[in-house]
């Protein structure tokens, strides 16, 4: 079946360092969404990318959708303790409205 994998599974960084998580799908996606889940919380929508090669920025966060629409990345510049949480990508499947959530990357930021 369709799978969406993320690496790394965990990342510990010092506050101020950069962080990147990578998302890879076994099939071509119609769109990619990113969610953040704080410890003990629920997933919160961050952004949606639709076009091949698309890049979007939200303050310190940069999101990319690969040219082949099978991979994506989230880069955080100069991490802060408020960035702590698990980041999930979710890939949209063609001809359905189904989202397949990735395995997630848990980010820990040390002050």
């Amino acid at each position: 079946g369709q799978q969406v994998m993320q690496i790394p599974q965990y990342q510990h960084v010092q506050e101020g360092e950069d962080f990147t998580t990578y998302c890879n799908s076994s099939t071509t996606l119609s769109n990619i969404q990113w969610y953040k889940q704080r410890p003990g919380g629920h997933p919160v929508f961050l952004i949606q990318l639709v076009k091949s090669g698309e890049v979007k920025k939200q303050k310190r966060l940069t999101f990319q959708f690969g040219e082949a629409k099978k991979n994506s990345s989230l880069h955080i510049t100069a991490t802060q303790t408020t960035d702590v949480g698990t980041y999930f990508c979710a890939g949209g499947l063609h001809n359905t409205d189904k989202l397949i959530f990735g395995t997630g990357t848990r980010l820990q930021v040390f002050p």
Partner: protein
Amino acid sequence: EAGVVQSPRYKIIEKKQPVAFWCNPISGHNTLYWYLQNLGQGPELLIRYENEEAVDDSQLPKDRFSAERLKGVDSTLKIQPAELGDSAVYLCASSKEGYYEQYFGPGTRLTVT
């Protein structure tokens, strides 16, 4: 605007007992989802509704799980009988339509003993 409401927030039951979860989506959102999330993993779709119609229930274990969304607004997910392996967080989410961003409720943490 009120978010997605779920109840109860926590539930502890013994195995073989029934349990039900309730979800009220954001007003005007036609699509409603039930997900299961195990610790350290991403949400896994159980069932998706477009209004009152279940359009994707391929991942719902139909021998013990059932769901309904009778008037196309709030929804109930039931497990009968519960098994130890059902311990997880059950998340409800809604969206305007299937393609758009999903808004999640706080979830129900189920513990089966």
